[in-house]
Amino acid sequence: MSTPPEMLPRLHVLERGWLSSNNIVFDDDDGISVVDTGYVTHAEQTVQLIDRLRRGRPLTRIINTHLHSDHVGGNARLAAAAHRWSGASANIIIAPGQAAAVAAWDEDALGYAATGQQCERFAHHDVLRIGATLTLGGAPWEVLAAPGHDPHMVMLFEPHARVLISADALWENGFGAIFGEIEGEPAFAAQRAVLDEIARRAPRVVIPGHGAPFTGVAAALERAYGRLSSLAADPRRNANHIAKVLIKFWLLQVRATTYAELLAHFAGTRYMRLIHARYFSQQPLEALLDRILMELALMGAITRAGERVANRD
């Protein structure tokens, strides 16, 4: 296709890279709503982008598909900007299941400590309800449960235009890392059920959490099922993939570091310690990180020269 898929006229996708999720902006009757707000280090630009798109209207709602740092990192700054713009607060509406952890700002329960990621504290006003319908941009969006990548994640589906906001449950080629398995949760099975649900709904267009909106959903589902089968057949491969994702994500944020700093960071990161202890304990953590860095360098995702480790775009 030479032009982006036709979606809905009152929906706008802000697509950036991998550290920030897509932000989906809706033109409502009484202002604008934003679904997912990106990573905290990008929050200033996120505010600038939303300010450009809002054309003087108030930002009334901030909605989150899940609470990962790359989806809620702009919440606090956007809520403050909304107040500056219109004198009224934006309502922050989060996926259900972790409202108490958000209210208490429990960084362990929210996974920011476990992944070694940052997020700016925000206060939520409401939670999404599974099966409920939200009006966004004048259209009805059903809230669907989407556990797998995150046990509390939701997707949003508009049944008339058959547009799916899939969060990290389905990308054009794959899906978000299946973190739950390394904690012993049946997350592969949950992810399979989510793919089944997407197949049943048969969306015409998918707006993923990362990457451009796409059609060709049946083929994307086929790729996702294939990848899920190969990960589920070899949980060490899944663990290895999560280790790569954690390191690449951190390097996207810090850009460059030393091997000693990287080792210190991930020695203090619960998920990396868990991956080491559960799947690769026959070697020291240092050897595991060495191997993961080599694999990342071979795929062109990072560079390593002696002590220096850097992101590679």
Binding site: M1, S2, T3, P4, H12, V13, L14, E15, R16, G17, W18, L19, S20, G38, Y39, T41, H42, E44, Q45, T46, Q48, L49, R52, L53, W171, E172, N173, G174, H210, G211, A212, P213, F214, G216, R223, R227, K244, V245, K248, L252, Q253, R255, L296, M299, G300, A301, R312, D313
Partner: protein, 72 residues
Amino acid sequence: MASNLFRAAPAAAPSSVASPCVSVCKIDAASGWCEGCKRTIDEIAHWARYSDAQKRAVLAALPARHSGTATG
């Protein structure tokens, strides 16, 4: 190459022009360009709605901004 890791799109997908975003995502106040990809706020904001031809036109303007030979 991050897309190889995060599997955004098939390597051979002919359908879309890849975003130049490198996850820096900070606007330089003096130039008005993102410090990472050198796009303007408008170019980033409207990227998803551009046709492939429009995306390629934006990409074509970026090397001069990176090398400092463009002024605005």
